[in-house]
């Protein structure tokens, strides 16, 4: 039996590191296959988000539904949905991989952990964008909300997705190190939905709270996108008032910070023997 087995498997063996593109594609395609396998869990998530949006409408309308508030709150709420799904998938995915032992197997790759984490966050972001789009479109059709469809709005949306990905990496890093990550995640998601404009415009908050809101992921993206889609502004306008630049910087910083934190968390986990099943 041995002759028919091991003797035939004479491979040359891997002797080179994979390219970044291949790793990104590999991680993303794996994430999407797993996402498709978990497709039954997405429908309830969509339902919960839609119900949550309606509850917000009653709250901001003082017990009534005010159609004038649909558009501005929906924009902010869609970005919250993006963050909610991306962070949930990053945290749940990381914990699942730790417990399954696949996080250890992944780190037998020659690539640094931050490179491996980008593929993971890419698939989480794709799922989050899909959910955001479905929730947004469903509510637009359901409530008859009207926007100015400005193609340039794709830019702030993409920058916000990048920022959310960075925040997702931060949460993933915390998931590796902190056992109470579930509670932390819920609190942070709550702060974001409260302060990013899903309830009331950020400029109605006191200045210190506005500053905190602007530091959170999605708030600047909501502001810039709102200027383009609801206030008839152009890219030149958001460039001139520096809001687009701040969004760019904010997203870039979040992504770098997230990748750094993830790398640090993996390094600490390797030091403490905490990369494998808990």
């Amino acid at each position: 039996m041995r002759d028919s087995m091991a003797s035939q498997i004479g491979f040359a063996g891997a002797r080179r590191s994979p390219s970044m593109v291949r790793v990104l594609g590999n991680e993303t395609s794996k994430g999407l296959v797993i996402l498709w396998d978990n497709r039954r869990t997405i429908l309830p998530e969509l339902g919960v988000l839609v119900v949550f949006y309606f509850l917000i409408q009653f709250l901001v309308g003082g017990g009534r539904v005010v159609p004038a508030l649909y558009a501005p709150t929906l924009l902010a709420f869609s970005f919250y949905a993006l963050l909610y799904i991306a962070t949930l998938k990053m945290v749940a995915g990381t914990l699942e991989e730790m417990n399954a032992g696949t996080l250890e197997q992944i780190h037998l790759s020659p690539l640094p952990s931050w490179a491996l984490s980008l593929g993971r966050v890419a698939s989480a972001a794709i799922e989050a964008v899909a959910v955001m789009t479905v929730v947004g479109c469903a509510l637009i059709l359901l409530l008859g909300i009207r926007f100015t469809y400005e193609p340039a709005a794709v830019l702030p949306v993409l920058l916000t997705v990048v920022g959310v990905a960075g925040f997702g990496l931060l949460m993933g890093a915390l998931a590796i190190r902190v056992s109470s990550i579930g509670a932390i995640l819920h609190v942070l998601q709550g702060i974001v939905v409260f302060l990013n404009g899903s309830f009331v415009p950020v400029n109605l908050y006191p200045a210190p709270l506005q500053l905190i809101a602007d530091l959170l992921p999605t708030t600047l993206g909501v502001e810039v996108t709102r200027k383009l889609l609801l206030q008839g502004g152009s890219l030149a306008d958001v460039w001139a008032d520096h809001s687009l630049i701040w969004l760019f910087i904010h997203s870039a910083v979040l992504l770098v910070l997230g990748a750094f934190a993830y790398q640090l968390a993996i390094r600490r986990a390797m030091r403490d023997g905490g990369l494998g099943p808990r």
């Binding site: 087995m5 003797s7 498997i9 040359a12 891997a14 794996k30 296959v33 032992g101 790759s109 390094r267």
Partner: protein, 319 residues
């Protein structure tokens, strides 16, 4: 420059978890040189440091002190080259994705280590065919039996044809047939493909059957590191098994201290502790004088389990 003969070089490897009063020394100054093609078994009780040693070798746990070199590549300083040398099946986890099929797992882990889809396909096919998984290659691994899942984990570890295979409890939870398949694989990989295998197991019979060499770990330290025959011979004692016909009455016989008596299959078997030759003759004389029927007298060879337990109880006699 001196020629390097060891495939895996472990030097003064130490791992301390925690700090201050909470510090725990999981691995304590372990040094091993493992030549290519050798199967070495790391044995020890729970918490002895076997799994930590495996994870230190694979670079998944950072050592407090010491070095690990895989084919000359330092696992810390030359991590990229070092990890390309090894595949691992680790204890306590699934090691593969249950949501993916066997084929998708091999594709994923192959790409993760730098192989292209074209390179992976023929290798994956051979591995899956040889492991009897080809027909179910597109089914989700989560639906497989434990043995099939373990086979996928082994195949994933081998997809890049690594020089070293680290196996932490590779047959745990497997039925007899699946365990036999994995054992055959391990032997084939070492003897036919010259791969170096480091395995941990609690199944001492398996270790005795598979390993060229055994390192026994206790409290993070290696208390014995010898080729299996040498390890057994070092613990050889002049013990004897004396089989008497029927259920013999030994009331009149003065058995040496430490002897045990068992009645089995219509015979009476006396297993003595270590004896001098004159004590053996004296005992046989007593048996003869009592008129008991002597069937056989044979030396008792120690097995690995006895050696293991003795080592853990008493330490190593110069091993």
């Amino acid at each position: 420059m001196a020629e390097r003969t060891s495939a895996i070089e472990i030097e003064s490897l130490t791992k301390i978890y925690g700090k201050g009063a909470n510090a725990t020394k999981a691995v304590d100054d372990v040094s091993l040189d493992i030549p290519a093609g050798q199967i070495i078994g790391l044995l020890g009780p729970n918490g002895a440091g076997k799994t930590t040693t495996i994870k230190l070798i694979s670079g998944l746990v950072t050592p407090t002190a010491g070095t690990v070199r895989l084919n000359g590549f330092d696992i810390r300083r030359q991590r990229s080259q070092a990890v390309l040398q090894l595949g691992a099946v680790l204890e306590g986890g699934r090691n593969v994705y249950w949501s993916l099929s066997a084929w998708q797992n091999l594709l994923y882990f192959g790409r993760l280590k730098g192989l292209s889809g074209k390179e992976i396909a023929p290798r994956a096919e051979r591995l899956l065919r040889d492991l009897g998984l080809w027909q179910v290659r597109d089914a989700q691994v989560g639906g497989f039996s434990r043995g099939m899942q373990q086979k996928v984990a082994v195949a994933s570890a081998l997809i890049t044809d690594p020089a070293f295979l680290l196996l932490d409890e590779p047959t745990i939870g497997l039925d007899v047939e699946a365990a036999r398949t994995v054992k055959d694989w391990i032997v084939g990989l070492a003897y036919e493909q010259h791969k170096t295998v480091v395995l941990t197991t609690h199944q001492l019979d398996m270790a005795q059957e598979l390993c060229d060499r055994i390192a026994i770990i206790r409290s993070g330290q290696i208390v014995a590191d010898l080729p299996v025959p040498e390890l057994l011979s070092r613990f050889h004692e002049d013990r004897f098994r004396i089989v008497l016909g029927s259920h013999s009455d030994l009331a009149g016989i003065q058995l040496p201290a430490g002897s045990s008596v068992a009645h089995e299959d219509g015979t009476t078997a006396v297993t003595t502790a270590a004896l001098q030759d004159r004590d053996v003759y004296r005992l046989l004389a007593q048996i003869g004088e009592a008129g008991l029927s002597l069937r056989s007298v044979s030396p008792v060879e120690p097995d690995l389990e006895e050696v293991f337990l003795k080592l853990l109880r008493e330490g190593a006699p110069g091993a």
